[in-house]
Homo-oligomer: 437 residues x 2
Amino acid sequence: MKNKSQKLWHEAKKIIPGGSQLLSKRSEMFLPGGWPSYYKQAKGIEVVDLDGNRYLDFSTMGVGSCILGYADKDVNRAVKLAIDKGSMSTLNCPEEVELAELLCSLHPWAHMVRFARTGGEAMAVAVRIARAHTGKDKIAFCGYHGWGDWYLSANLGDRKNLDEHLLKGLKPAGVPRALKRTALPFSYNRIEELEKIIAKEKNIGAIVVETMRHQEPKKEFLKKVAAIAKRIGAVLIFDEISIGWRLTVGGAHVLYGVNPDIAVFAKAMSNGFPCAAIIGKRAVMESAQKTFISSTYWTDRVGPAAALATIKKLKEGKVPAHLKHIGKAIGDGWKRLAKKHTLDITILGPEALITFALNYGERSQALRTLFTQEMLARGYLAGASVYVSYAHKERHVARYLKAADAVFGILKKALGSASVTSFLHGEVAHSGFRRLT
Amino acid sequence: MKNKSQKLWHEAKKIIPGGSQLLSKRSEMFLPGGWPSYYKQAKGIEVVDLDGNRYLDFSTMGVGSCILGYADKDVNRAVKLAIDKGSMSTLNCPEEVELAELLCSLHPWAHMVRFARTGGEAMAVAVRIARAHTGKDKIAFCGYHGWGDWYLSANLGDRKNLDEHLLKGLKPAGVPRALKRTALPFSYNRIEELEKIIAKEKNIGAIVVETMRHQEPKKEFLKKVAAIAKRIGAVLIFDEISIGWRLTVGGAHVLYGVNPDIAVFAKAMSNGFPCAAIIGKRAVMESAQKTFISSTYWTDRVGPAAALATIKKLKEGKVPAHLKHIGKAIGDGWKRLAKKHTLDITILGPEALITFALNYGERSQALRTLFTQEMLARGYLAGASVYVSYAHKERHVARYLKAADAVFGILKKALGSASVTSFLHGEVAHSGFRRLT
C-alpha cells in the first residue's frame, strides 16, 4: 500500500461490494494496485488525488459525463444558483419544463420528455413506455444499455449473449428467470441478424440501439432498423447516453438523419450532475400515462439546471467541433508515434471518443496496462480511450503526445522482451466484469 | 388560467406526460386548477411561487426529502464545497466511503453499502441483490416501494393488489407479463397473510417491508417477519425511504430492535439532493458481486456530500426529537380544533409524519380539497399530512393552527350545506393514480 488513495481503495472494497458504484471506476479496470482511485479535486482536465499528485485526464473524464471539463465554471455557477434558490420543494421546478422544451427544439421529431437521474433507470423508463405502448414485452437490442433487468436478462439464455456489446462476462444473477428470452441481441451493422430475430419472434415491443459507438452505421443500418421497427409495430429507442452531445449538440442520430420514437440521454447532457432525459414522439410518450413511473429525486432542480447550462455552452462554444479537432490531433499523434516505434495499432473513432487498439493478441491487455502504468508515472490518467472534453486544449495534447512518445518506446521494448508482464509493477488490468476481493 | 405557475402547469402537461416526474407533485393531487405547481425559491419552510406568492409549507416538504428544511445552510455549504472541488471525475470521491462507514456505524448489524441516486432504483438494487443471493425470484412484500417492475408486477395478477399499499389504481402496463405472480402482497400487521403466502410458495427470495408508515408494528409483527425470512432463507429488506431518519437518526427499525438483512434509504438522508443507500449484512451484500449493478451517476460527489452533512445535523440538532415535538403540537391542535368545530377526524401518527383523516365517507376527499383550497388562500401549502421538518418552529405551528381554526369552521359549514363541492373553486383532488389530460 503506497499511498492514501490506494489505501482507501483497499478499505472501500471491504465496505462497498465491488469497491465502486461503477465498473469503469474500479482501479482494477485501469491499473491494479497502482491506480490513484480517489480524487480530492478536479478542475478542467486536471485531477488531484488524495496524496496531492496531479494528473491530466486523457482517459474517461468521468466516464464520459464531463464533456465541458471538470468543475466547469458556467455549469457550476448555474447549479450553485439553483441550490441557493432551494433545489427541492413540494412544488415543481420550472427548469424541467424549460429543459423539456429545449430538448424538443433540438430534436424536432420529439414532442414530450420525461426525466430521471441516471442512465440506467432512464433506459428502464424508455423500455417501460415502449412495452406499455405496444403491449408487447420482448426487446431486440444491440449495444450496451446498463444494469437493468430488461437488458441483463439477455444473458439468462446464453451467458455470452452480451459479450459483444461492450462489456464481457456480465452475470445476470438476480434477474428473474421468467425474463429469459425477453431480450434478444443482434450485432451493430448486421441488419440480417435483426431480420432473423423478427422472423422468429412476433412479440417485439421495442428495438433498442446505441446510435453508434466506435462503428459508423453502414449501408443505411439505422434507416433499415427504423423501417423494421415501423413495419413490426415496435418502438425504436436510440440510446444516446454515451455518444449523445459528442458529435453534435443533441443526439448522434440527428447527424444520420434517422429519427427514433424515443431517445435517451444522460452523462454529458449535464456535465457530471445526475440527470437523464427520455424524449419521444407524442403518441408513444403519452403511453407513459398508462403506467406508473414516478420517483421523488427525479424532481430536484440541480439536474435540469446543470443540463440547461451545459447545453447552452455546448452550443455557444461549438463544443462538438472542438472535440472532433482535438480527438483527431490525438489520433493522428498515436498514428505517428506508432509508426515511429513500429507498433501495430488500430485507431477507432469517432474523434470525440478516440480509441486505439494494440494488435498483439493475448499480450494486448498487458501492453495496455503498461501504457497506463507508464503514462501515470508521467502525470496522465490514460487508457486506450479518450473521452475528449472542451477543456482539452492543443497544448495539453502536445504534452500528452510527448509522454506517449516515450511510453510507446517502452511498449516496443516490452514487446521485444521475453515477457510484457515483467514490465508491470502489478497485475494486468481487468478487461470486463469480474468479482473483486 | 390565473397566474404564471398555473399557466406553466398547463403547458407542462403538453410536454411532460403526467406533468411532473412524481405523482405526488401533480397539482391534481392537491387542488386541481388552484395549486401553485411551480416554485421560484424555497428556504426554511417558505416557498415562493412563480408569481411571488409566499407560502409556509405544512404539506410534504419535498415529498419527505427536506427533513432539515429547504436550502438548509449547512447542507448547501457542504454541497457547494463539493461542487467547487469538482463533483465528478474519472476517479472516485472519498465521501462515498465515509458515508458507507457512517451508515454502518449507525446500523451496526450492517457491514456493506451500495449507493444509488433515487429510491426507486435503490429498491431495484436491493431486490436484485436478494434474488442473486438466494437464487429465488419471488418477492413477498407489504407497503409502497415505487415504480419498479418487480413491485408493479403485483398488479399483473389482480389490478387491486397494490390498492392497500399507499397508492390506489397503479397500472402495471409495460411490466413484462412473465413477471406475473412474482410479487405477492400481504398487509402490514397481518402476519397470517405472510404465513399463507409462504405456505403456498416455496420460491420466495426476499420479503420486502416498509418498516412502518402510519401504523405501529403490533404483536411483534416485524420480529415475526424476520423470523419467517430466516426460516425460509429469504432476504429481509426494510424500505426506510419514507420513514427513515424521521423517528431516529437512522432507520426506524433501530427503534423496534429488529434488524433486516438489507435496509434502503433515500429522501431525507440527503435533504433534497439525489442520493440513496442500500446497506446490508456482509454475506448478503457480497452477492452484489455475482451480478452487474453499475451506473455512472451513482458516483457523483454531491449525493454523499449532502448525506454526510444532513446526517451530521440530524445528530447534532437532535432532529427526530424536534420532529416529534412539533408533530405532536400539530396533531394536538387538529384535535382541539376538530372538537371546537365538532368535526369527526382521526389523527394518524407518527408525529414526524402527522396526518389526519376526515371521517365523512365519500365527502371526505372533497372536504380535504376544501381544506387545501382555504389553507392556500391563507398562505399555506397544506394537505392531510405534514412531513415535519427541523425548520418548522412552534411559532409556525401557532400561525398555522390559527388559519386551520378558520378553515375547520368552513369545513363544518360545508358539511352542513347541501353540497361540499359547491364550496370548491375547482374539482375534487385526485386520490390516486389517474391519467392527466
